[in-house]
Symmetry: C2
Subunit: 455 residues, 2 copies
């Protein structure tokens, strides 16, 4: 094997101590959030009814390049960061590609994914503000688990609204959250007005992420000493997740490596946004060039087939509106889509970068994603999360192109997490019962026709 | 925080390249395995009908201190080793103890435990010998998963007999094995004579580890090009697991740290045996002194309440007899015991060391183990396996003794794995439905009265 080790770790002194805010270097800034009633930009005061004060500042900060990471968060990082940057020697050998493949693996923590990076930051600021607790929603459960761990650490109450079908199908995820002290409520529930309304209209619904968001926001705004936290999409989340890209960049630079292509899966965009942030900064400042590729499921293709427009972040339409690539707040991916990344919209930052053609996007079929996942698991050891496997698939495709052209490109992708709690989906694949579903143009048009009329 | 980092990693050059065989330094060697028919020591030839040739050599080698680790295994190690040695700063703070607590964490791989260390070695030697595949049994599923990963890597067929109740209660474990290409059969099954016999006598049995072992051995010996592999108890397994202790020792020595107490959970003994091996070597050679503590469940107390005698390794009594601390091959821990470590016997090496008073043993109650596990999870982040949590409980007890005496002892314990596939047990604990069960003296006498008469 080469001189570059299989895993590159940073020591504690090499670790970044500030998050990077890509908005500071963007010429076109992401559009502001709009108040769902007035359709005017949300003021800091309005946002503070929902979010912690410090996080509102970060949400609205389009100018500061760096935000110092509080020492309490740096301490917590020591438990699970730096995450390893891994040279995929075995995968390269399997593919017989001249490409050099690296992946940044964020799954080595109990929440099993990169979500902990923003959970610990949001829990910290909530604690610092003297709050009693926070509310949130979770679908697959990665975000809820991460937030439970972070709140457990700071002794903060954590109330999770978990999409009912996940609550029932993923009892283990639920138990991890409970073990960390969180209370978990299946959504829709009778604990909120919006939940009761949905239950009365659709008594047999298995819930949706948008509905769980609406419940969590209502619960936070109606309970003294509580605020709402969200694990993706928001600008503040992209800021916290920049730790992924910053560590990756330092690790690569230690060995004089410059990636040609940087690839991440994209649901709400938090992993991709974090991974590419400092590299995109260089590109925006004209200091270096990279290809960035967002990979999304063909069954929920917000960048590749959605519209760049203002839309609600949640089904209940209680949250602010965000200008983003969206399939429409009422879009529901097919039930047979098991691979995560089910959100109808996309981070406003990534949406703007994509609209400015600074970022590419591809969509991939579910069965090809699981095929790539199983191949990856067998040669690289780690069983990847279905979400992460979208990036694996795209990275393998790029590496195979290199095999054809003979180019020895350097590919970096984000392996956001492990698939240990996604074995129902793997079972479907192992039993050859997994199918692909791609929404028709008519379906998308139907959903997009109901976008709110703004400006 | 102190200058000692939260995590100590070794770089590739610092990694051990030979396993350490503690038998070489033992004055009293572990007793040989006996042929179950003749009750005479098993010859290499007899063992080779069941095990790979190279592994038989390792099994019988009582003299060589070091065995070189093949480069293919060192390559595989790069995927998941070195495992981190972690300073439990947060746990120390929580306990307000002057003790310094370190743990060696073996759970950062998809099998979720230290079992992969021996799985990769056994799969490698099987492949090298030109075999088509291997058979094994698995209970909780850690060993089966580890072996599936190892066989998947080398393209070796892997047939796992999984205790029926685990097969049904842990479908996700089963799917991980299948994803790595293994075939998984619930045991008892109708694919073996011994399985059919047990099924005809006990048609509703939920299976046992001893029964699954019998089936796996029969399947291996009756199939051309197959051998049987076992994940604990055997001398060869202790050899492979010495990597845990070797890495720990190098990592500690980098910072000039000498542990006072070394603690590990003990079921069959593979983790404890591996963790303590090089330290025990120093003690045996009179170069240093350490306290070693084996921690076992009060419901399956082979060291603390068993007998040091020859016994069958499996319920079906087809395997060789081993001289070990045992509760009797027919001993079954209470069904309410959820915390792993259910094996009736103990590694012959550890048994001999314990009999020679070189090793202490304690037993702990299940609910106190889960209490310690949850506390650990909340402050140290990682959700531990129930098995590992026995060591956590004992380490916390020792740290609290230090708090009383004011001594700043250095404690090292083995955190063998993660609890992600054990959430049924955590759920019981979270719902306060977990109870303790300690076998009565009469029960143990009954089981021990049926030990085979040897010598």
């Amino acid at each position: 094997m080469s001189e570059i080790p299989y895993k590159i770790y940073l020591n504690e002194k090499e670790m970044p101590n500030a998050w990077y805010n890509v908005r500071a270097d963007m010429k076109k800034k992401p559009a502001p959030l709009l108040n769902p009633q007035t359709l005017k930009p949300m003021t800091a005061g309005e946002l503070e009814a929902v979010f912690c004060g410090e996080l509102v500042k970060q949400e609205l900060d389009n100018t500061n390049q760096y935000t110092e990471i509080p020492s309490e968060i740096l301490d917590f990082y020591k438990m699970y960061r730096p995450s390893p940057l891994i040279r995929a020697y075995f995968l390269e050998k399997e593919l017989k590609t001249p490409a050099k493949i690296y992946y940044k693996f964020e799954g080595n923590n109990t929440s099993g994914s990169h979500k902990l990076n923003s959970a610990i930051a949001q829990a910290y600021y909530a604690k610092k503000q003297g709050l009693k607790g926070v509310t949130t929603e979770t679908g697959a459960g990665q975000w809820g688990t991460a937030l439970s761990m972070a709140c457990g650490f700071f002794g903060l109450d954590c109330r999770v609204y978990m999409v009912k079908c996940s609550y029932e199908q993923k009892p283990f995820r639920r138990e991890v959250m409970r073990t960390y002290g969180a209370s978990v409520t299946p959504s829709p529930s009778d604990t909120t007005q919006v939940g009761r309304k949905i239950l009365s209209e659709h008594p047999n619904t298995s819930g949706s992420l948008g509905c769980a968001i609406s419940e969590a926001v209502e619960a936070a705004t109606n309970t003294d000493g509580y605020r709402y936290v969200l694990g993706s999409v928001l600008n503040q989340v992209m800021l916290h997740q920049s730790i992924i890209g910053l560590e990756s960049k330092i690790a690569l630079e230690k060995y004089g490596i410059k990636p040609d292509i940087i690839i991440g899966c994209a649901g709400g965009g938090s992993n991709l946004g974090g991974l590419i942030a400092p590299f995109m900064g260089e590109k925006l400042r004209g200091e270096a060039d990279y290809r960035f590729i967002a990979v999304e499921p063909a069954s929920c293709p917000s960048l590749t087939r959605g519209k760049f427009a203002y839309d609600y972040c949640d089904t209940g339409m209680v949250c602010p509106l965000s200008k983003m690539y969206t399939l429409g707040a009422e879009f529901m991916p097919s039930a047979n889509h098991a691979g995560g990344l089910r959100y109808h919209g996309m981070s406003p930052i990534l949406s703007q970068l994509y609209d400015d053609k600074l970022l590419e996007a591809v969509s991939v079929d579910q069965t090809s994603v699981f095929e790539a996942a199983v191949k990856f698991a067998r040669v690289e050891g780690t069983l990847p999360a279905p979400e992460s496997s979208h990036a694996i698939k795209a990275a393998m495709d790029e590496a195979l192109k290199c095999k054809e052209t003979g180019e020895a490109k350097t590919i970096l992708f984000g392996l956001t997490g492990t698939g240990y709690f996604d074995m129902y989906a793997y079972q479907k694949y192992n039993d050859r019962q997994m199918t692909d579903y791609i929404p028709t143009d008519a379906e998308l048009q139907e959903s997009l026709s109901r976008l709110p009329k703004v400006g």
